[in-house]
Symmetry: C2
Subunit: 416 residues, 2 copies
């Protein structure tokens, strides 16, 4: 049996989410070198999907501005989004009727481009931006100011940032990940459609290839520098590290207990100067990264996942250069901090100089950006030799509420 | 056995192109509902790849400006591109050495992001723009003016065009199609790298989902209006139609006999006003298109591939409205002309009004744009009711030389 989007085949409402579908799932995962054996994930649970979930191949990320000051309208939107999201991640349509089944004198409640496509491991992850708690004028438009998470404010300016405000910020975000980009795009597009009059898309970003793994069962993918990326990212199998670095714990933030079991999502659009990079020698590239390009092993030796020796002497200082990327962001140099990363490669056509407008859309989930993200980003901006090849063009921070329990809507505890 | 990109696994130089690789190929094609059973296609042949080839899932299309007036440098580029393309479509690296195998004091001759990825049915299709035969000042910089194909000039302005010059034209083009976007991006990026100093990327476009089929074995995919697209597109099984509508025949153009066995590639970036579209009733949408949204059957009845009856009376004129898209572009209304289409859905973030910058990157291969493309585009621009929901933002025309024979380079006959 195949899970297909509601429409022409069979209704899917009754299908168990999280179903393991042998052949189809084998197909979906083989291409990226994985074998999750899963066709879809349950929408509800203790934590939101799309964080620990084995990283899917494709991304459509959207940030929204809330265009109303009506708290009830905002709540209604979150209820509607919850209902639509639960349906879509199970392989169903956005609305209860479907793209072609309703009264033809009305607009369909699903846009139809995913008719016949399987669930494709779609996950939808929702986040709340600083603007939800006070708008640009400092106005507490939804009466939420006293529940604002302590670390939820626009990310600071980092040295060498070249941020495009039109690609930054947002009151709400939705991260759609799937193995089929048409399924991810369909989800975002329908959530935007459902939100018309309450929200407007502020910016959105497609990612064509994952640059991180969240499970030891996944091979480490490569970024556009040609290097394996995300080797040191926290994996879902590391239960202790997940508790320590990813989830906001009860008591972390007494003012925002609603966020316990959630996380923070830091997004950074990182343009890579790939044309310049491609002219560097293999040795230079490896010294900038601190790992070999072939296996991803530390320059101090061993295999990809072996511990690196930051002290091992080379001909000219440590064999892993002190200003190499891996040395600068290594937990030993950052109070032991690690991140769960979920970034994607992107190419958005050409830039004005005829280079490719391409790079890495960085997404990380952290327990506290003030201690787990901002210091690392600052260290990178100041010391990382790789920065010469990077340009940060987008920036956003969101608080990601915990999972949605049966009968609840996304972020319900915030409004209780 | 799995075909992998040269690098860490095995060298692939010796692999037979076009190999059928059971498991891997089944994987690659199942996701898009096809079963070509093919892992890679031979680069050389009577015609270029990427035209009749069953349409792959993903696209990266690039247009280049030639930045030299040195004819020998242009020829050298085409030789280098031919060599790299033949290697990459077989699953190998861009250069003969590979991403990590060479002298580490030199820049690698492959950028590495495709290490370990299979050939993914990559095809690379090359085209020559008007600027190769005379530049913006009318200068015959490469001594090719007297061999210019008669129909190769910039496409005219059509009613309701809103063309962005930065997304239009180009002296050369490369269409990279593959089932894995990372493989398509890798190919374009490495061709641009190889061409540094001779060409510069003018614009490029990613497409995330095919919107047409070139084989009866492929299901018809859906565009962002939610409708099946490309139902009437010429299929590779229609041998007579292919000869009549796709390939330039010997004698078609005495001045450009080098183009015999080739074709013309018309590219149009079509933004869709999807937010407005989504507010239309199902009936209105179907009357604008002229087909049902569910099966894609003509409104005159039957199944998707049944002939439509343009005369069948409805309550208010023909049941297939005269200004519907399918009626306006129907061969009966256009001297019997048909096209082989190979377009892709795209989403490039947001537009300035907060809508999605999304639509269809239209690509068609035609025997003669003056008779097989421009009249249809004019008819659409003037009469097609769908135009209210479309905005044409990019435009380009290229002459696509015939296939590359053993020992030759792409387009060699043009320079003979």
């Amino acid at each position: 049996m195949k899970i297909t989007r509601r429409g022409l085949m069979t209704g899917t409402t009754g299908l168990a989410a999280g179903a393991v579908v042998g052949a189809a799932a084998g197909v979906a995962t083989e291409r990226s070198g994985d074998s999750t054996g899963v066709a879809s994930y349950p929408f509800r649970g203790a934590h939101q999907q799309g964080i620990l979930t084995p990283v899917q191949d494709r991304l459509h990320f959207a940030a929204f501005d809330v265009t109303t000051t009506d708290r009830a309208a905002l709540v209604r939107l979150l209820q509607d989004w919850t209902e639509a999201a639960e349906r879509m991640v199970a392989g169903g349509s956005a609305g209860p009727v479907g793209p072609v089944e309703g009264d033809d004198r009305l607009p369909p409640d699903d846009t139809g481009e995913a008719i016949g496509l399987p669930a494709s491991r779609l996950t939808l992850t929702f986040g709340f931006g600083p603007g939800l708690f006070s708008d640009a004028d400092g106005e507490d438009r939804f009466g939420l100011a006293d529940r604002r998470p302590k670390a939820l404010r626009p990310l600071p300016h980092f040295a060498s940032d070249a941020i495009d405000e039109a690609r930054s910020g947002g009151d709400l975000c939705v991260q759609a990940c799937a193995d089929d980009p048409q399924v991810a795009v369909h989800a975002i597009r329908n959530l935007a459609r459902i939100g018309m009059g309450t929200v407007a898309v502020r910016w959105s970003q497609l990612g064509f290839g994952r640059t991180s793994s969240t499970s030891r069962s996944q091979a480490t993918p490569r970024n556009l520098f040609g290097f394996k990326d995300g080797t040191a990212s926290v994996k879902s199998e590391e239960r202790d590290a997940i508790e320590e670095f990813v989830w906001v714990a009860p008591g972390d933030d007494p003012r925002a207990e609603w966020l316990a079991g959630g996380s923070y999502l830091a997004a950074r659009r990182i343009n890579m100067r790939i044309e310049t990079w491609d002219r560097q020698s293999l040795r230079t590239q490896e010294e900038l990264v601190g790992r070999t390009k072939s296996s991803g092993a530390p320059l101090s030796g061993g295999d990809e996942f072996d511990e690196m020796d930051l002290e091992m002497p080379g001909r000219d200082g440590p064999v892993v250069p002190v200003d190499s990327h891996v040395a600068v962001v290594h937990p030993d140099n950052n109070g032991g901090v690690r991140m769960l990363r979920r970034g994607y490669n992107f190419v958005d056509g050409s830039d004005v100089l005829g280079g490719m407008d391409s790079g890495l859309f960085f997404v990380a989930f952290v327990r506290d950006p003030d201690t787990h993200f901002i210091p690392l980003q600052s260290a990178m901006a100041k010391q990382d030799a790789l920065m010469e090849y990077l340009k940060f063009t987008g920036s956003a921070l969101f608080a990601v509420p915990p999972g949605v329990r049966p009968g609840e809507f996304v972020g319900q505890a915030l409004f209780a």
